[in-house]
Protein backbone atom coordinates (compact mmCIF):
# COMPACT_ATOMS: atom_id res chain seq x y z
CA UNK A 1 0.00 0.00 0.00
CA UNK A 2 1.37 3.34 -1.05
CA UNK A 3 2.37 5.77 1.63
CA UNK A 4 -0.44 8.16 2.53
CA UNK A 5 0.13 11.73 1.39
CA UNK A 6 -3.15 13.24 2.53
CA UNK A 7 -5.50 12.05 5.22
CA UNK A 8 -8.83 13.71 5.83
CA UNK A 9 -11.13 12.67 8.62
CA UNK A 10 -14.50 14.14 9.44
CA UNK A 11 -14.08 17.36 7.47
CA UNK A 12 -16.98 19.79 7.81
CA UNK A 13 -17.54 23.25 6.38
CA UNK A 14 -20.14 25.64 7.72
CA UNK A 15 -21.12 29.00 6.27
CA UNK A 16 -23.43 31.34 8.14
CA UNK A 17 -25.95 32.80 5.70
CA UNK A 18 -29.01 35.00 6.38
CA UNK A 19 -31.41 32.04 6.43
CA UNK A 20 -29.33 29.98 8.86
CA UNK A 21 -26.24 27.80 8.88
CA UNK A 22 -25.28 26.31 5.54
CA UNK A 23 -23.48 22.95 5.81
CA UNK A 24 -22.09 22.38 2.33
CA UNK A 25 -19.51 19.78 3.45
CA UNK A 26 -20.45 17.23 6.11
CA UNK A 27 -18.23 14.62 7.74
CA UNK A 28 -16.08 13.92 4.71
CA UNK A 29 -13.28 11.39 5.22
CA UNK A 30 -10.77 9.99 2.76
CA UNK A 31 -7.11 9.52 2.13
CA UNK A 32 -4.87 9.74 -0.89
CA UNK A 33 -1.66 7.77 -1.27
CA UNK A 34 1.50 8.52 -3.21
CA UNK A 35 0.83 8.25 -6.91
CA UNK A 36 -2.84 7.65 -6.26
CA UNK A 37 -5.75 9.48 -7.87
CA UNK A 38 -8.97 10.02 -6.00
CA UNK A 39 -11.78 11.24 -8.20
CA UNK A 40 -14.63 13.13 -6.57
CA UNK A 41 -17.79 13.14 -8.64
CA UNK A 42 -21.19 14.60 -7.97
CA UNK A 43 -23.59 17.13 -9.37
CA UNK A 44 -23.09 20.87 -9.29
CA UNK A 45 -23.31 22.42 -5.82
CA UNK A 46 -22.73 19.22 -3.85
CA UNK A 47 -19.65 20.70 -2.14
CA UNK A 48 -16.71 19.46 -4.20
CA UNK A 49 -14.99 22.83 -4.54
CA UNK A 50 -15.52 23.73 -0.90
CA UNK A 51 -14.01 20.39 0.12
CA UNK A 52 -10.84 21.16 -1.84
CA UNK A 53 -10.70 24.78 -0.68
CA UNK A 54 -11.09 23.56 2.90
CA UNK A 55 -8.06 21.30 2.50
CA UNK A 56 -6.04 24.21 1.07
CA UNK A 57 -7.38 26.49 3.81
CA UNK A 58 -8.57 28.91 1.15
CA UNK A 59 -12.24 29.00 2.11
CA UNK A 60 -14.13 32.28 1.90
CA UNK A 61 -13.46 34.22 5.10
CA UNK A 62 -16.90 33.68 6.63
CA UNK A 63 -16.78 29.91 6.11
CA UNK A 64 -15.67 27.77 9.07
CA UNK A 65 -13.73 24.55 8.72
CA UNK A 66 -13.73 21.70 11.22
CA UNK A 67 -11.83 18.47 10.89
CA UNK A 68 -10.95 15.58 13.14
CA UNK A 69 -7.75 15.01 11.21
CA UNK A 70 -6.22 16.80 8.28
CA UNK A 71 -2.74 15.46 7.69
CA UNK A 72 -0.35 16.14 4.82
CA UNK A 73 2.93 14.19 4.66
CA UNK A 74 2.49 13.34 8.33
CA UNK A 75 2.00 16.97 9.45
CA UNK A 76 -1.35 18.08 10.85
CA UNK A 77 -2.78 20.99 8.88
CA UNK A 78 -5.40 21.66 11.53
CA UNK A 79 -4.15 24.27 13.94
CA UNK A 80 -1.50 25.56 11.56
CA UNK A 81 -1.09 29.31 11.40
CA UNK A 82 -1.74 31.14 8.15
CA UNK A 83 2.01 31.60 7.79
CA UNK A 84 2.69 27.87 8.14
CA UNK A 85 -0.11 27.08 5.67
CA UNK A 86 1.36 29.56 3.20
CA UNK A 87 4.67 27.67 3.37
CA UNK A 88 2.83 24.51 2.33
CA UNK A 89 0.55 25.92 -0.36
CA UNK A 90 2.03 25.84 -3.82
CA UNK A 91 4.97 23.95 -2.37
CA UNK A 92 3.92 20.58 -0.91
CA UNK A 93 0.34 20.87 -2.08
CA UNK A 94 -1.05 22.84 -4.97
CA UNK A 95 -4.36 23.37 -6.64
CA UNK A 96 -5.61 23.83 -10.18
CA UNK A 97 -8.82 25.78 -10.47
CA UNK A 98 -11.99 25.55 -12.49
CA UNK A 99 -11.59 28.85 -14.35
CA UNK A 100 -8.43 29.13 -16.48
CA UNK A 101 -9.67 32.32 -18.14
CA UNK A 102 -9.65 34.32 -14.91
CA UNK A 103 -7.18 32.46 -12.73
CA UNK A 104 -4.10 34.18 -14.13
CA UNK A 105 -3.25 37.75 -13.22
CA UNK A 106 -3.71 39.91 -16.35
CA UNK A 107 -0.96 42.32 -15.28
CA UNK A 108 2.01 39.94 -15.24
CA UNK A 109 3.73 37.73 -17.76
CA UNK A 110 3.37 33.97 -17.74
CA UNK A 111 7.04 33.71 -16.81
CA UNK A 112 6.65 35.98 -13.83
CA UNK A 113 3.63 34.05 -12.56
CA UNK A 114 5.22 30.67 -13.18
CA UNK A 115 8.43 31.43 -11.34
CA UNK A 116 7.11 33.33 -8.35
CA UNK A 117 5.97 30.32 -6.32
CA UNK A 118 9.34 28.66 -6.80
CA UNK A 119 11.25 31.80 -5.90
CA UNK A 120 9.08 32.05 -2.80
CA UNK A 121 9.45 28.46 -1.61
CA UNK A 122 12.80 27.20 -2.86
CA UNK A 123 16.20 28.79 -2.75
CA UNK A 124 16.78 28.97 -6.49
CA UNK A 125 17.94 31.73 -8.80
CA UNK A 126 15.59 33.38 -11.28
CA UNK A 127 17.42 31.65 -14.12
CA UNK A 128 16.94 28.24 -12.52
CA UNK A 129 13.26 28.94 -11.92
CA UNK A 130 12.88 30.01 -15.54
CA UNK A 131 14.57 26.85 -16.75
CA UNK A 132 12.18 24.75 -14.74
CA UNK A 133 9.24 26.79 -16.04
CA UNK A 134 10.33 26.15 -19.62
CA UNK A 135 10.83 22.46 -18.91
CA UNK A 136 7.36 22.18 -17.40
CA UNK A 137 5.71 24.18 -20.17
CA UNK A 138 7.19 21.71 -22.61
CA UNK A 139 5.93 18.86 -20.42
CA UNK A 140 2.38 20.19 -20.59
CA UNK A 141 2.65 20.35 -24.35
CA UNK A 142 3.31 24.03 -25.00
CA UNK A 143 5.54 24.70 -27.97
CA UNK A 144 8.08 27.52 -28.14
CA UNK A 145 8.01 27.46 -24.37
CA UNK A 146 10.80 29.95 -23.71
CA UNK A 147 9.18 32.65 -25.80
CA UNK A 148 5.91 32.14 -23.92
CA UNK A 149 7.50 33.32 -20.70
CA UNK A 150 7.29 36.91 -21.89
CA UNK A 151 3.66 36.66 -22.98
CA UNK A 152 0.66 37.89 -21.05
CA UNK A 153 -2.40 35.76 -20.20
CA UNK A 154 -4.64 37.61 -22.64
CA UNK A 155 -2.40 36.47 -25.47
CA UNK A 156 -3.12 32.80 -24.74
CA UNK A 157 -6.18 30.68 -25.48
CA UNK A 158 -8.15 29.01 -22.68
CA UNK A 159 -6.55 25.64 -23.32
CA UNK A 160 -3.06 27.12 -23.18
CA UNK A 161 -3.87 29.01 -20.02
CA UNK A 162 -5.05 25.85 -18.32
CA UNK A 163 -1.82 24.13 -19.37
CA UNK A 164 0.06 27.06 -17.85
CA UNK A 165 -1.98 26.64 -14.66
CA UNK A 166 -1.01 22.98 -14.54
CA UNK A 167 2.65 23.79 -15.06
CA UNK A 168 2.37 26.46 -12.37
CA UNK A 169 0.95 23.96 -9.88
CA UNK A 170 3.87 21.62 -10.57
CA UNK A 171 6.65 24.21 -10.23
CA UNK A 172 7.69 23.23 -6.71
CA UNK A 173 7.21 19.50 -7.24
CA UNK A 174 4.26 19.07 -4.86
CA UNK A 175 3.39 15.76 -3.20
CA UNK A 176 -0.30 16.46 -3.53
CA UNK A 177 -2.25 18.15 -6.26
CA UNK A 178 -5.92 19.09 -6.24
CA UNK A 179 -7.50 19.61 -9.64
CA UNK A 180 -10.96 21.12 -9.32
CA UNK A 181 -12.81 20.57 -12.58
CA UNK A 182 -9.74 21.71 -14.51
CA UNK A 183 -11.48 21.39 -17.86
CA UNK A 184 -15.06 22.55 -17.30
CA UNK A 185 -14.44 25.92 -18.89
CA UNK A 186 -12.69 24.47 -21.93
CA UNK A 187 -13.66 23.26 -25.35
CA UNK A 188 -14.98 19.70 -25.32
CA UNK A 189 -12.31 18.69 -27.80
CA UNK A 190 -9.44 19.46 -25.44
CA UNK A 191 -11.10 18.46 -22.17
CA UNK A 192 -10.11 14.80 -22.28
CA UNK A 193 -6.67 15.76 -23.63
CA UNK A 194 -5.92 17.95 -20.61
CA UNK A 195 -7.27 15.41 -18.13
CA UNK A 196 -5.08 12.71 -19.62
CA UNK A 197 -2.10 15.01 -19.55
CA UNK A 198 -2.74 15.63 -15.88
CA UNK A 199 -2.99 11.91 -15.19
CA UNK A 200 0.29 11.25 -17.02
CA UNK A 201 2.14 13.96 -15.12
CA UNK A 202 0.72 12.74 -11.84
CA UNK A 203 2.01 9.29 -12.64
CA UNK A 204 5.40 10.58 -13.75
CA UNK A 205 5.93 12.76 -10.68
CA UNK A 206 4.34 10.22 -8.37
CA UNK A 207 2.02 12.73 -6.73
CA UNK A 208 -1.21 12.14 -4.91
CA UNK A 209 -4.10 13.71 -6.77
CA UNK A 210 -7.67 14.68 -6.10
CA UNK A 211 -9.42 15.02 -9.43
CA UNK A 212 -12.82 16.66 -9.43
CA UNK A 213 -14.60 16.25 -12.72
CA UNK A 214 -17.94 15.53 -14.35
CA UNK A 215 -16.29 13.41 -17.01
CA UNK A 216 -17.04 9.87 -15.81
CA UNK A 217 -15.34 8.49 -18.89
CA UNK A 218 -12.04 10.00 -17.75
CA UNK A 219 -12.70 8.96 -14.17
CA UNK A 220 -13.13 5.36 -15.30
CA UNK A 221 -9.75 5.50 -17.00
CA UNK A 222 -7.54 7.53 -14.66
CA UNK A 223 -8.94 7.23 -11.13
CA UNK A 224 -7.70 4.67 -8.63
CA UNK A 225 -10.45 5.46 -6.19
CA UNK A 226 -13.73 7.26 -6.65
CA UNK A 227 -15.84 9.17 -4.14
CA UNK A 228 -19.40 10.01 -5.05
CA UNK A 229 -20.58 13.15 -3.34
CA UNK A 230 -24.17 14.14 -2.82
CA UNK A 231 -25.51 17.14 -0.89
CA UNK A 232 -22.37 17.66 1.16
CA UNK A 233 -21.67 14.02 1.95
CA UNK A 234 -19.68 11.21 0.44
CA UNK A 235 -22.38 8.67 -0.33
CA UNK A 236 -20.16 6.01 -1.82
CA UNK A 237 -16.43 5.40 -2.07
CA UNK A 238 -14.48 2.59 -3.61
CA UNK A 239 -12.06 1.68 -6.33
CA UNK A 240 -13.02 2.80 -9.81
CA UNK A 241 -13.91 -0.80 -10.68
CA UNK A 242 -16.14 -1.18 -7.63
CA UNK A 243 -18.00 2.04 -8.31
CA UNK A 244 -18.51 1.44 -12.01
CA UNK A 245 -19.20 -2.29 -11.89
CA UNK A 246 -21.24 -2.62 -8.73
CA UNK A 247 -22.57 0.77 -7.65
CA UNK A 248 -24.42 0.23 -4.40
CA UNK A 249 -25.91 3.59 -3.45
CA UNK A 250 -29.09 4.46 -5.37
CA UNK A 251 -27.62 7.87 -6.20
CA UNK A 252 -24.50 6.36 -7.73
CA UNK A 253 -26.68 3.96 -9.67
CA UNK A 254 -28.76 6.86 -10.94
CA UNK A 255 -25.67 8.92 -11.79
CA UNK A 256 -24.19 6.14 -13.88
CA UNK A 257 -27.50 5.71 -15.68
CA UNK A 258 -27.38 9.38 -16.68
CA UNK A 259 -24.01 9.39 -18.33
CA UNK A 260 -22.67 7.27 -21.16
CA UNK A 261 -19.33 5.71 -20.30
CA UNK A 262 -17.14 4.74 -23.24
CA UNK A 263 -16.73 0.98 -23.39
CA UNK A 264 -19.36 0.41 -20.71
CA UNK A 265 -22.58 1.89 -22.02
CA UNK A 266 -23.96 -0.07 -24.96
CA UNK A 267 -24.63 1.78 -28.17
CA UNK A 268 -28.26 2.87 -28.37
CA UNK A 269 -28.89 2.22 -24.66
CA UNK A 270 -31.42 4.44 -22.94
CA UNK A 271 -29.93 7.11 -20.66
CA UNK A 272 -31.68 7.90 -17.40
CA UNK A 273 -32.13 11.01 -15.32
CA UNK A 274 -32.64 11.55 -11.60
CA UNK A 275 -35.94 13.34 -10.95
CA UNK A 276 -36.31 15.83 -8.09
CA UNK A 277 -34.00 18.49 -6.66
CA UNK A 278 -31.10 18.56 -4.22
CA UNK A 279 -32.24 19.30 -0.64
CA UNK A 280 -31.33 22.62 0.97
CA UNK A 281 -28.23 22.28 3.10
CA UNK A 282 -29.28 24.98 5.53
CA UNK A 283 -29.70 23.49 9.01
CA UNK A 284 -29.70 19.77 9.81
CA UNK A 285 -31.16 17.17 7.49
CA UNK A 286 -32.52 14.13 9.26
CA UNK A 287 -31.67 10.80 7.71
CA UNK A 288 -30.51 10.14 4.18
CA UNK A 289 -29.93 13.25 2.05
CA UNK A 290 -31.05 11.42 -1.07
CA UNK A 291 -34.36 10.22 0.42
CA UNK A 292 -36.38 12.90 -1.39
CA UNK A 293 -35.30 11.64 -4.83
CA UNK A 294 -34.65 7.97 -4.17
CA UNK A 295 -36.86 5.47 -6.01
CA UNK A 296 -36.51 2.96 -3.13
CA UNK A 297 -37.27 5.30 -0.25
CA UNK A 298 -39.06 3.92 2.84
CA UNK A 299 -39.57 4.94 6.49
CA UNK A 300 -36.17 3.76 7.73
CA UNK A 301 -34.43 6.23 5.41
CA UNK A 302 -35.51 9.34 7.32
CA UNK A 303 -35.72 7.78 10.77
CA UNK A 304 -32.10 8.42 11.65
CA UNK A 305 -28.82 9.52 10.10
CA UNK A 306 -27.20 6.98 7.84
CA UNK A 307 -23.49 6.41 8.13
CA UNK A 308 -21.04 4.99 5.63
CA UNK A 309 -20.83 1.21 5.85
CA UNK A 310 -18.94 -1.52 4.02
CA UNK A 311 -20.34 -2.94 0.84
CA UNK A 312 -19.56 -6.42 -0.47
CA UNK A 313 -15.85 -5.91 -1.20
CA UNK A 314 -13.13 -4.52 1.02
CA UNK A 315 -12.58 -0.79 0.61
CA UNK A 316 -16.01 -0.24 -0.90
CA UNK A 317 -18.30 1.83 1.33
CA UNK A 318 -21.75 3.31 0.87
CA UNK A 319 -24.27 5.36 2.82
CA UNK A 320 -27.67 3.66 2.56
CA UNK A 321 -30.01 1.70 4.83
CA UNK A 322 -30.40 -1.07 2.25
CA UNK A 323 -28.11 -4.07 2.47
CA UNK A 324 -25.61 -4.21 -0.37
CA UNK A 325 -27.29 -7.31 -1.77
CA UNK A 326 -30.69 -5.62 -1.78
CA UNK A 327 -29.31 -2.45 -3.32
CA UNK A 328 -27.51 -4.27 -6.11
CA UNK A 329 -30.56 -6.45 -6.71
CA UNK A 330 -32.65 -3.28 -7.13
CA UNK A 331 -30.26 -2.09 -9.78
CA UNK A 332 -30.32 -5.32 -11.69
CA UNK A 333 -34.14 -5.30 -11.59
CA UNK A 334 -34.08 -1.75 -12.95
CA UNK A 335 -31.67 -2.73 -15.70
CA UNK A 336 -33.78 -5.72 -16.69
CA UNK A 337 -36.79 -3.51 -17.35
Amino acid sequence: MAERVLEVEDLCVEIPIPSGMLRPVQHVSFHVGQGETLAIVGESGCGKSLTSLAIMDLLPSKAKRRAERLVLDGDALTGMTERQMADIRGNQMSMIFQEPMTSLNPAYTIGNQLTEAMLRHKSVSLAEAKDRAVWLLEKVGITAARSRLGQYPHQLSGGLRQRVMIAMALMCGPDMIIADEPTTALDVTIQAQILHLLAELQDEFHMGMILITHDLGVVARVADRVAVMYAGQFVETGTAAQIFDSPTHPYTQGLLECIPIPGKTERGAHLGSIPGIVPSLVGEIRGCHFAGRCPYVHEACTAEDVSLRPSLDAGHEYRCVLSPQAAIANRNKQAAQ
Binding site: L58, G90, R120
Partner: protein, 305 residues
Protein backbone atom coordinates in the same frame (compact mmCIF):
# COMPACT_ATOMS: atom_id res chain seq x y z
CA UNK B 1 1.83 50.25 -28.07
CA UNK B 2 2.96 52.93 -30.55
CA UNK B 3 -0.48 52.79 -32.11
CA UNK B 4 -2.07 53.35 -28.73
CA UNK B 5 0.23 56.28 -27.93
CA UNK B 6 -0.48 57.90 -31.30
CA UNK B 7 -4.21 57.42 -30.87
CA UNK B 8 -4.17 59.01 -27.41
CA UNK B 9 -1.96 61.79 -28.67
CA UNK B 10 -4.37 62.43 -31.54
CA UNK B 11 -7.28 62.61 -29.13
CA UNK B 12 -5.34 64.95 -26.85
CA UNK B 13 -4.61 67.28 -29.76
CA UNK B 14 -8.24 67.26 -30.90
CA UNK B 15 -9.39 68.10 -27.39
CA UNK B 16 -6.79 70.85 -27.16
CA UNK B 17 -7.99 72.42 -30.42
CA UNK B 18 -11.63 72.26 -29.30
CA UNK B 19 -10.73 73.81 -25.98
CA UNK B 20 -8.82 76.60 -27.72
CA UNK B 21 -11.89 77.38 -29.88
CA UNK B 22 -14.16 77.50 -26.87
CA UNK B 23 -11.68 79.66 -25.02
CA UNK B 24 -11.39 81.99 -27.96
CA UNK B 25 -15.12 82.42 -28.28
CA UNK B 26 -15.29 83.31 -24.59
CA UNK B 27 -14.51 86.84 -25.67
CA UNK B 28 -17.85 87.11 -27.46
CA UNK B 29 -19.86 85.55 -24.67
CA UNK B 30 -20.48 88.82 -22.92
CA UNK B 31 -21.51 90.67 -26.06
CA UNK B 32 -19.45 92.93 -28.32
CA UNK B 33 -15.99 93.12 -26.75
CA UNK B 34 -15.25 96.49 -28.33
CA UNK B 35 -18.25 98.11 -26.65
CA UNK B 36 -17.33 96.49 -23.35
CA UNK B 37 -13.75 97.76 -23.68
CA UNK B 38 -14.64 101.24 -24.73
CA UNK B 39 -16.73 101.90 -21.66
CA UNK B 40 -20.05 103.73 -21.24
CA UNK B 41 -18.96 107.21 -22.27
CA UNK B 42 -17.32 106.18 -25.55
CA UNK B 43 -18.45 107.60 -28.86
CA UNK B 44 -19.22 105.51 -31.92
CA UNK B 45 -15.84 106.58 -33.30
CA UNK B 46 -13.95 105.32 -30.24
CA UNK B 47 -15.62 101.96 -30.59
CA UNK B 48 -14.66 101.77 -34.28
CA UNK B 49 -11.10 102.62 -33.32
CA UNK B 50 -10.93 99.89 -30.72
CA UNK B 51 -12.36 97.41 -33.23
CA UNK B 52 -9.60 98.25 -35.64
CA UNK B 53 -6.79 98.26 -33.05
CA UNK B 54 -7.77 94.93 -31.52
CA UNK B 55 -8.70 93.39 -34.87
CA UNK B 56 -12.33 92.82 -33.93
CA UNK B 57 -13.38 93.99 -37.39
CA UNK B 58 -11.77 91.02 -39.12
CA UNK B 59 -13.62 87.75 -39.89
CA UNK B 60 -13.83 85.55 -36.83
CA UNK B 61 -11.82 82.73 -38.42
CA UNK B 62 -8.96 85.10 -39.10
CA UNK B 63 -9.18 86.44 -35.58
CA UNK B 64 -9.04 82.90 -34.19
CA UNK B 65 -6.10 81.95 -36.41
CA UNK B 66 -4.17 85.04 -35.39
CA UNK B 67 -4.94 84.53 -31.74
CA UNK B 68 -3.96 80.85 -31.86
CA UNK B 69 -0.78 81.58 -33.81
CA UNK B 70 0.27 84.16 -31.27
CA UNK B 71 -0.71 81.96 -28.34
CA UNK B 72 1.41 79.11 -29.72
CA UNK B 73 4.36 81.49 -29.69
CA UNK B 74 3.63 82.42 -26.10
CA UNK B 75 1.96 85.72 -26.90
CA UNK B 76 -1.43 85.96 -25.24
CA UNK B 77 -1.78 89.66 -25.83
CA UNK B 78 -1.86 92.54 -23.38
CA UNK B 79 -3.72 92.55 -20.12
CA UNK B 80 -6.37 95.25 -20.33
CA UNK B 81 -5.99 96.00 -16.67
CA UNK B 82 -2.34 95.42 -15.80
CA UNK B 83 -1.10 96.84 -19.12
CA UNK B 84 1.49 94.07 -19.22
CA UNK B 85 1.89 91.07 -21.50
CA UNK B 86 -0.49 88.36 -20.30
CA UNK B 87 2.14 85.66 -20.77
CA UNK B 88 4.55 87.34 -18.34
CA UNK B 89 1.94 87.50 -15.60
CA UNK B 90 0.84 83.91 -16.19
CA UNK B 91 4.32 82.44 -16.13
CA UNK B 92 5.05 84.34 -12.95
CA UNK B 93 1.99 82.83 -11.25
CA UNK B 94 2.05 79.36 -12.80
CA UNK B 95 4.76 77.75 -10.59
CA UNK B 96 2.82 78.59 -7.44
CA UNK B 97 -0.32 76.89 -8.73
CA UNK B 98 1.62 73.90 -9.98
CA UNK B 99 3.32 73.53 -6.61
CA UNK B 100 0.00 73.81 -4.82
CA UNK B 101 -1.61 71.33 -7.22
CA UNK B 102 1.21 68.83 -6.84
CA UNK B 103 1.17 69.08 -3.03
CA UNK B 104 -2.61 68.72 -2.97
CA UNK B 105 -2.53 65.71 -5.30
CA UNK B 106 0.20 64.01 -3.29
CA UNK B 107 -1.66 64.69 -0.06
CA UNK B 108 -4.87 63.31 -1.55
CA UNK B 109 -3.28 60.15 -2.97
CA UNK B 110 -1.20 59.43 0.12
CA UNK B 111 -4.30 59.73 2.26
CA UNK B 112 -6.90 58.08 0.06
CA UNK B 113 -5.13 55.11 -1.53
CA UNK B 114 -3.84 53.50 1.70
CA UNK B 115 -7.17 54.20 3.41
CA UNK B 116 -9.03 52.64 0.50
CA UNK B 117 -6.76 49.58 0.56
CA UNK B 118 -7.10 49.07 4.30
CA UNK B 119 -10.85 49.60 4.11
CA UNK B 120 -11.08 46.92 1.42
CA UNK B 121 -8.87 44.45 3.25
CA UNK B 122 -10.94 44.84 6.42
CA UNK B 123 -14.43 45.69 5.22
CA UNK B 124 -16.78 46.94 7.97
CA UNK B 125 -13.90 47.33 10.40
CA UNK B 126 -13.32 50.48 12.42
CA UNK B 127 -10.88 51.81 9.81
CA UNK B 128 -13.40 51.14 7.05
CA UNK B 129 -16.02 53.11 8.97
CA UNK B 130 -13.63 55.98 9.60
CA UNK B 131 -12.71 56.02 5.92
CA UNK B 132 -16.38 56.01 4.96
CA UNK B 133 -17.05 58.90 7.33
CA UNK B 134 -14.19 60.89 5.83
CA UNK B 135 -15.57 60.22 2.37
CA UNK B 136 -19.15 61.17 3.18
CA UNK B 137 -18.19 64.26 5.14
CA UNK B 138 -15.72 65.21 2.42
CA UNK B 139 -18.29 64.90 -0.29
CA UNK B 140 -20.94 66.79 1.67
CA UNK B 141 -18.76 69.63 2.90
CA UNK B 142 -18.20 72.61 0.58
CA UNK B 143 -14.47 73.13 0.14
CA UNK B 144 -14.59 76.84 1.00
CA UNK B 145 -16.26 76.02 4.31
CA UNK B 146 -13.70 73.32 5.08
CA UNK B 147 -10.91 75.77 4.21
CA UNK B 148 -12.35 78.48 6.44
CA UNK B 149 -12.89 76.08 9.35
CA UNK B 150 -9.33 74.84 9.08
CA UNK B 151 -8.07 78.41 8.89
CA UNK B 152 -10.04 79.31 12.00
CA UNK B 153 -8.71 76.45 14.14
CA UNK B 154 -5.19 75.82 12.86
CA UNK B 155 -4.45 79.40 11.96
CA UNK B 156 -6.29 81.62 14.38
CA UNK B 157 -7.16 79.67 17.55
CA UNK B 158 -4.10 77.43 17.74
CA UNK B 159 -1.74 79.57 15.69
CA UNK B 160 -0.04 76.54 14.20
CA UNK B 161 0.09 77.65 10.59
CA UNK B 162 0.12 80.93 8.67
CA UNK B 163 -3.25 81.72 7.15
CA UNK B 164 -2.31 83.57 4.00
CA UNK B 165 0.42 84.28 1.50
CA UNK B 166 3.18 82.14 0.03
CA UNK B 167 6.13 83.15 2.16
CA UNK B 168 7.26 79.67 3.25
CA UNK B 169 6.40 75.99 2.88
CA UNK B 170 4.14 76.29 5.92
CA UNK B 171 1.90 78.56 3.88
CA UNK B 172 1.20 75.70 1.51
CA UNK B 173 0.08 73.20 4.14
CA UNK B 174 -3.49 74.36 4.65
CA UNK B 175 -4.23 75.20 1.01
CA UNK B 176 -2.85 71.80 -0.05
CA UNK B 177 -4.98 69.96 2.47
CA UNK B 178 -8.06 71.99 1.58
CA UNK B 179 -7.54 71.43 -2.11
CA UNK B 180 -6.47 67.78 -1.84
CA UNK B 181 -9.32 66.94 0.48
CA UNK B 182 -11.59 67.87 -2.36
CA UNK B 183 -10.63 64.79 -4.38
CA UNK B 184 -9.95 62.38 -1.51
CA UNK B 185 -13.46 60.89 -1.19
CA UNK B 186 -13.80 59.84 -4.82
CA UNK B 187 -10.29 58.37 -5.03
CA UNK B 188 -10.71 56.53 -1.76
CA UNK B 189 -14.09 55.06 -2.63
CA UNK B 190 -12.84 53.89 -5.99
CA UNK B 191 -9.70 52.35 -4.49
CA UNK B 192 -11.82 50.51 -1.94
CA UNK B 193 -14.31 49.28 -4.52
CA UNK B 194 -11.54 48.26 -6.92
CA UNK B 195 -9.62 46.42 -4.22
CA UNK B 196 -12.74 44.63 -2.99
CA UNK B 197 -13.48 43.45 -6.49
CA UNK B 198 -9.92 42.40 -7.25
CA UNK B 199 -9.45 40.67 -3.89
CA UNK B 200 -12.37 38.38 -4.62
CA UNK B 201 -11.09 37.56 -8.11
CA UNK B 202 -9.84 34.17 -9.20
CA UNK B 203 -6.26 35.28 -9.76
CA UNK B 204 -5.95 36.44 -6.17
CA UNK B 205 -7.08 32.98 -5.11
CA UNK B 206 -4.40 31.57 -7.42
CA UNK B 207 -1.80 33.83 -5.82
CA UNK B 208 -2.82 32.66 -2.37
CA UNK B 209 -2.84 29.04 -3.53
CA UNK B 210 0.82 29.52 -4.46
CA UNK B 211 1.55 30.34 -0.85
CA UNK B 212 2.71 33.88 -1.64
CA UNK B 213 3.13 36.21 1.32
CA UNK B 214 0.05 38.32 2.15
CA UNK B 215 1.93 41.51 1.27
CA UNK B 216 2.90 40.11 -2.14
CA UNK B 217 -0.70 39.12 -2.80
CA UNK B 218 -1.97 42.52 -1.70
CA UNK B 219 0.50 44.80 -3.42
CA UNK B 220 1.87 42.86 -6.37
CA UNK B 221 -1.29 41.06 -7.41
CA UNK B 222 -4.20 43.12 -6.12
CA UNK B 223 -3.22 46.79 -5.98
CA UNK B 224 -1.62 46.84 -9.41
CA UNK B 225 -4.95 45.87 -10.95
CA UNK B 226 -7.17 47.85 -8.62
CA UNK B 227 -5.24 51.07 -9.20
CA UNK B 228 -5.88 51.21 -12.96
CA UNK B 229 -9.30 52.90 -12.79
CA UNK B 230 -8.00 55.08 -9.95
CA UNK B 231 -5.32 56.56 -12.23
CA UNK B 232 -7.93 57.72 -14.74
CA UNK B 233 -10.13 59.07 -12.00
CA UNK B 234 -7.25 60.92 -10.34
CA UNK B 235 -6.54 62.70 -13.62
CA UNK B 236 -10.15 63.79 -13.98
CA UNK B 237 -10.25 64.85 -10.34
CA UNK B 238 -7.07 66.84 -10.83
CA UNK B 239 -9.00 68.82 -13.42
CA UNK B 240 -11.68 69.61 -10.86
CA UNK B 241 -8.92 70.52 -8.48
CA UNK B 242 -7.52 73.11 -10.89
CA UNK B 243 -10.97 74.66 -10.88
CA UNK B 244 -11.18 74.32 -7.12
CA UNK B 245 -7.88 76.13 -6.77
CA UNK B 246 -9.65 79.35 -7.77
CA UNK B 247 -11.62 79.15 -4.52
CA UNK B 248 -8.79 77.88 -2.34
CA UNK B 249 -6.14 80.30 -3.64
CA UNK B 250 -8.50 83.18 -3.10
CA UNK B 251 -9.28 82.14 0.47
CA UNK B 252 -5.63 81.66 1.41
CA UNK B 253 -4.37 84.54 -0.76
CA UNK B 254 -2.01 82.20 -2.55
CA UNK B 255 -0.64 84.17 -5.45
CA UNK B 256 -1.26 81.60 -8.15
CA UNK B 257 -3.27 81.26 -11.32
CA UNK B 258 -6.51 80.64 -9.44
CA UNK B 259 -6.17 83.86 -7.53
CA UNK B 260 -5.25 85.63 -10.74
CA UNK B 261 -8.35 84.20 -12.41
CA UNK B 262 -10.55 85.55 -9.66
CA UNK B 263 -8.90 88.97 -9.88
CA UNK B 264 -9.23 89.00 -13.67
CA UNK B 265 -12.89 88.09 -13.54
CA UNK B 266 -13.46 91.06 -11.26
CA UNK B 267 -11.49 93.33 -13.58
CA UNK B 268 -13.19 91.95 -16.70
CA UNK B 269 -9.67 91.30 -18.00
CA UNK B 270 -10.68 89.08 -20.93
CA UNK B 271 -7.29 88.24 -22.52
CA UNK B 272 -6.00 87.25 -19.11
CA UNK B 273 -8.98 84.99 -18.41
CA UNK B 274 -8.70 83.44 -21.82
CA UNK B 275 -5.06 82.64 -21.27
CA UNK B 276 -5.67 81.19 -17.80
CA UNK B 277 -8.44 78.93 -19.03
CA UNK B 278 -6.27 77.82 -21.93
CA UNK B 279 -3.21 77.10 -19.80
CA UNK B 280 -5.19 75.21 -17.16
CA UNK B 281 -6.99 73.19 -19.84
CA UNK B 282 -3.70 72.27 -21.44
CA UNK B 283 -2.34 71.07 -18.14
CA UNK B 284 -5.41 68.97 -17.71
CA UNK B 285 -5.06 67.52 -21.20
CA UNK B 286 -1.40 66.70 -20.65
CA UNK B 287 -2.19 65.07 -17.33
CA UNK B 288 -4.96 62.94 -18.84
CA UNK B 289 -2.55 61.86 -21.54
CA UNK B 290 0.06 60.93 -18.94
CA UNK B 291 -2.59 59.00 -17.00
CA UNK B 292 -3.39 57.03 -20.15
CA UNK B 293 0.29 56.25 -20.59
CA UNK B 294 0.60 55.17 -16.96
CA UNK B 295 -2.40 52.88 -17.41
CA UNK B 296 -0.91 51.38 -20.53
CA UNK B 297 2.18 50.58 -18.52
CA UNK B 298 0.11 49.09 -15.67
CA UNK B 299 -2.23 47.10 -17.87
CA UNK B 300 -0.58 44.95 -20.54
CA UNK B 301 -3.97 44.37 -22.17
CA UNK B 302 -3.72 47.96 -23.42
CA UNK B 303 -0.03 47.78 -24.23
CA UNK B 304 0.44 44.35 -25.81
CA UNK B 305 -1.86 43.19 -28.57
Amino acid sequence: MLQYVLKRLGIAILVAVTVSMITFSMIYLSGDPAIALAGETATQEDIQNIRRVYGYDQPIVVQYANWLWNALQGDFGQSHYLKKPVADVIFERLPTTMLLGACALIFALVLSIPLGVVAAVRPNSLIDRIALTIAVVGQAMPSFWFALTMMLWLGIYWRLLPISGTASWANFVMPSIALGYYITPAVMRLTRAGMLEVLSSDYIRTARAKGLRPMTVLFKHALRNAIIPVVSLAAVQFGFMLGGSIVIETIFAVNGLGFLAWESIQRADLPMMQAIVLVLSFFYIILTFLADMLNAWLDPRIRVM
